[in-house]
């Protein structure tokens, strides 16, 4: 479904991604981890071409996101994305946040969009918050709204870019619960996160990145059981100590 093929990216002289290659199959949950500055966020932002890259290619259901002829908005509309800082639209109510792209991008009518939005808000347990503005919600609630907003587009896959990194500890689980449920329903997911508990629970594969390279790309059991590279072993020992 998502093919990342030898992707390299530079910020002027500095190379942030070095020939990254991997695949995410339909229904697969792939967790991307690694120390900060390893390029994992950059890589996931390349998948729907929010970040340009200079070499290699990424294809979503066979459609290249680097090809100039590709209708990028159309490709992006099919891939949901959740950001570290939520990025809800602060000038719109929660319900309007869920409806705007449905109506303006997918061309759904107001009634249909609202119905879909309310169903999703119910699913993330935030139905009562529909008329409020994002600023009136807690971080965990905002992130759940952001997930619902992405799901409202009926995506074929979901990208999560450190969805719990900006949250207070007591709010992390309410967001992870939604993500776990989504994974168990068979959603195709690529998740950049440090939450190894989440990875253990629902990931099929774990990708470990360091210094812009994919160092390890292994089934969950292998990655946690016997990581091959020294760098991954070091990372795991640091992150799993406590």
């Amino acid at each position: 479904m998502i093919e990342i093929d030898n992707v390299s990216k530079w910020y002027s002289d500095f190379q942030v991604l070095k020939g990254c290659t991997t695949k995410v199959a339909k229904g697969e949950v792939v967790v991307v981890c690694g120390p900060s500055g390893s390029g994992k966020s950059t890589l996931i932002q390349c998948v729907n071409a929010l970040e340009p890259f200079q070499q290699g290619d990424i294809r979503i259901e066979g459609v290249s996101v680097r090809d100039r002829k590709t209708d990028l908005p159309k490709v992006r509309a099919r891939v949901g994305m959740v950001f570290q800082h939520f990025e809800l639209f602060p000038h719109l109510t929660v319900i309007a946040n869920l409806c705007i792209a449905q109506m303006k991008v997918l061309g759904r009518g107001r009634e249909e969009a609202t119905k879909k939005a309310m169903a999703l808000l119910e699913r993330v347990d935030l139905k009562e918050q529909a008329p409020k503005y994002p600023g009136q919600l807690s971080g965990g609630q905002q992130q759940r709204v952001a997930i619902a907003r992405a799901l409202a587009m009926d995506p074929i896959a979901m990208l999560f870019d450190e969805p719990t990194s900006a949250l207070d500890p007591e709010m992390i689980n309410e967001v992870l619960d939604v993500m776990v449920a989504l994974a168990q329903e068979g959603m195709t997911m690529m998740v950049v996160t440090h939450e190894m508990g989440f990875a253990r629970k629902v990931a099929h594969r774990v990708i470990f990145m360091d210094k812009g390279e994919i160092v390890e790309d292994a089934p969950k059991e292998d990655f946690f059981g016997r990581p091959r590279s020294e760098r991954a072993q070091l990372f795991l020992s640091k992150i799993l100590q406590h």
């Binding site: 929010l50 992006r76 990025e87 639209f89 602060p90 000038h91 705007i100 991008v105 600023g135 992405a150």
Partner: protein, 230 residues
């Protein structure tokens, strides 16, 4: 000192001052503010564009206009526009466009440069992640601007836009150099007709002050309300 004052001249000319003069001033202010904000927003978007020719053109326009005295531009356009219009429509002789239209075009284009800088700051005040979120939902550049960035930019910049409009309201008095009957022009005409310059110019100053000061106070209130909402 006030014994020589003839307040009656003000009273007698109120309807001319306000119905002719002030109506013109307010119309010119509102129309050129609307035009200036629209044009200024477009220029700001061009200036922030990644396409070099667009951003160079916009930067050049803003820097040129902001380096010229307004009175000069008013004169210049008043005499230039008929010739431009002749050239555009290939009419046999220069086409007079009328003082109001000439002033409106001048102020719209002049103020656009100032509004553009305000809107540029406004657009840059919107977090980059908001743009990313819009694109990630499948929006086009136009949709991201129209539904996500500009509404927030306008809201953030509303007090500054209004303050600039109050300055524009005062600046419109410069059209009096074209003998147009705006508020100041009306006051000046009566001052000359009845030989009452002190009363008329004093009254004009009081009116400009009262309106501008009231509006500025309202903007300050608005500013503190917006600050709470955010």
């Amino acid at each position: 000192m006030l014994t020589g004052f003839d307040f009656d001249v003000i009273w007698r000319s109120l309807s001319y001052l306000f119905l002719d003069g002030m109506v013109f001033t307010v119309q010119l202010t509102l129309l050129s503010a609307a035009g200036g904000i629209i044009l200024g927003t477009l220029i700001a978007m061009m200036r922030l564009s990644s396409l070099a020719p667009l951003s160079l053109f916009a930067a050049g326009y803003v820097n040129l206009v902001r380096s010229l005295p307004l009175v000069l531009v008013i004169f210049w356009f008043y005499f230039l526009i008929p010739w431009v219009w002749q050239w555009v429509t290939s009419a046999p002789r220069p086409v007079p466009v009328g003082a109001f239209l000439s002033a409106l075009i001048t102020f719209t284009m002049f103020e656009a440069a100032y509004y553009a800088e305000i809107m540029r700051a406004g657009i840059q005040s919107v977090r980059k992640g908001q743009v990313g979120a819009g694109y990630a939902l499948g929006m086009t550049y136009g949709q991201v601007m129209g539904y996500v960035v500009l509404p927030q930019a306008f809201r953030n910049m509303l007090p500054v836009l209004l303050t600039q409009t109050i300055i524009l309201f005062q600046d419109t008095s410069l059209v009096y150099v074209l003998s147009i009957t705006d508020f100041l022009g009306a006051a000046s005409k009566i001052a000359n007709r009845d030989f009452r310059p002190v009363e008329m110019y004093l009254f004009a100053a009081v009116v400009y002050f009262a309106i501008s000061f009231t509006l500025s106070s309202l903007v300050r209130q608005l500013q503190s309300r917006i600050a709470i909402v955010r």
